[in-house]
């Protein structure tokens, strides 16, 4: 018995690439607040 999924190492690599792209593409409203929150206690 074998389970032959399409997901192989190349698919995994593509998935990781997609994840990276997704993180970059994610648009965060109030991005400046988050940047400031990390620098100052009075965000």
């Amino acid at each position: 018995m074998t389970i032959s999924l399409k997901a192989g190492s190349s698919a995994l690599a593509l998935s990781l690439l997609a994840s990276t792209a997704l993180a970059q593409d994610l648009q965060i409203e109030n991005a400046e607040w988050w940047q400031e929150a990390a620098r100052s206690s009075t965000a």
């Binding site: 018995m1 399409k6 997901a7 940047q35 990390a38």
Partner: protein, 452 residues
């Protein structure tokens, strides 16, 4: 908690531990790097097996080592964690530190699933990050195939449609397993989460099968002195429980051979590999099975339906007396032993921003904010999935999470060895359930819940 001054989080690395699931992988692969890009705060999320996740989190919180700033809280274990004061009240922490309250974060945005993570004071002890129901998935390509439909009609005298009863489900399972054999296909009639040495099988029976026979909350009656046996007022070994077990084992015997070693993860991969015509599958996997052709062979061929039920169960669910299946999910909570509580509060709010939910819903079939249901891509996938998200929104109330038992883990550990003997055939189902009910009462007495 707040140290004050600039660059207060310089060099801070948040560490979390969670089960490796599609929703958690999105946190580690997408949300964590985005958060670091914005704030400079590094977030390392360990995604590991379910067993390891619990082991690591509990040991860290018991010993107070402070390794983890965030731990995965499954709905079924949060009551035990709250009873042991392991977690920070996020609501209270944000009230104490309004400077850390992020714009866009609002507890009111959460679906009612968040209520599972509230303490007695109403405070939220975790950020909900996944929520799904265990649904009946079926292969639309097979169910709509004219040759198959004609053969099914000839053999059974009825139209091939998703089952509404256990009898219908069994008939479909038998038909497709035979169809696979006769046509030399790697196709079976059903999935089964029937691992002989992992609690996943215990969960499938008690959370997804027994309730469909009218046996709720594991057959234990807290208002009857925590009785489990019929003799004392419980239902763990009732006729209905035994019928449910017998039916489920017969389905296991029609399922692919890997089913005896399958947890929830393997059930999903079995279905995605096209090896089962129907099955009860955790909803966190539904979207990728239906839409991701890098992982699934059945893209565009997946339908969603309610689980098969015995008479009276839907009425019980509608009235709130019972439920038709499992509503699972989890949150990220912050141990009181975390050394980076301010930074962790920021990340936990980041996970709950409305603008990160749409992609997360697609990646993990999970929705924790009400607004996510209206997102355009979520609605597209909903159509591809035969209305899974709509079912989650409109019918989620008919499903239920684990009962609010602080003794959750202890009871499973006490009874699972007997349960596995039923699966391996060393015990008859009836005798096995009798033994489990007696063992449950013994354990609950030992833990102080049940009095003689």
């Amino acid at each position: 908690m707040v140290a004050g001054g600039r660059a207060q989080f310089d060099g801070v690395t948040l560490r979390g531990v969670t089960e490796s699931t599609p929703p958690s992988n999105f946190v580690s692969d997408v949300l964590a790097p985005k958060f670091e890009e914005l704030t400079g705060i590094r977030v390392e999320i360990e995604t590991t097996s379910w067993d390891q996740m619990y082991d690591k989190a509990i040991k860290d919180m018991e010993a107070g080592t402070g390794i983890y700033d965030m731990v995965y809280l499954e709905q079924d274990i949060v009551y035990a964690y709250l009873a042991r004061d392991f977690l920070v009240d996020v609501t209270a922490a944000l009230q104490e530190h309004p400077d850390l309250q992020a714009p866009g974060y609002d507890e009111a945005n959460f679906t009612t699933f968040a209520d599972n993570f509230r303490g007695e004071n109403g405070g939220l002890y975790g950020t909900p990050m996944e929520a799904f129901i265990k649904v009946y998935l079926y292969r639309t390509d097979l169910f709509e195939d004219e040759e198959i439909r004609a053969a099914f009609q000839e053999q059974t005298g009825r139209e091939l449609e998703p089952a509404k009863t256990h009898e219908e489900y069994a008939e479909i399972a038998e038909f497709f397993t035979r169809w696979g054999q006769e046509h030399d296909l790697d196709l079976w009639g059903t999935t089964a989460q029937a691992h002989t040495g992992h609690p996943a099988s215990w969960y499938e029976y008690f959370e997804s099968v027994a309730p469909t026979y009218g046996v709720y909350d594991w057959g234990i009656k807290p208002d009857q002195n925590y009785a489990a046996s019929v003799e004392n007022g419980g239902e763990m070994n009732s006729d209905e429980a035994k019928a449910a077990m017998t039916w489920w084992l017969s389905m296991r015997d029609l399922a692919p051979p890997e089913s005896v070693q399958s947890t929830w993860t393997e059930v999903a991969t079995t279905f995605a590999a096209g090896r089962a015509a129907q099955g009860l599958v955790y909803g966190e996997n539904a979207a990728w099975i239906a839409t991701d052709d890098s992982q699934s062979r059945v893209v565009g061929e997946v339908g969603v339906a309610m689980p098969p039920l015995e008479d009276g169960v839907m009425e019980d669910a509608e009235s709130g007396e019972g439920y038709i299946g499992y509503y699972d999910g989890g949150a990220f909570g912050m141990p009181v032993t975390s050394n980076n509580q301010d930074a962790a509060l920021l990340f936990m709010q980041f996970m709950a921003l409305p603008e990160v939910q749409e992609d997360w819903a697609i990646a993990g079939s999970r929705i924790t904010l009400n607004s996510t249901y209206d997102a355009p891509r979520v609605q597209e996938v909903d159509a591809e999935l035969g209305g899974y998200y709509t079912m989650l929104r409109d019918d989620g109330r008919l499903f239920k999470g684990a009962p609010e038992y602080p003794f959750h883990r202890q009871l499973i550990e006490a009874t699972a060895p007997i349960f596995y003997q039923i699966l391996t055939g060393d015990l008859e189902p009836g005798e096995g359930l009798d033994q489990m009910a007696a063992k449950s009462e013994e354990e609950l007495t030992s833990l102080g819940y049940r009095t003689n």
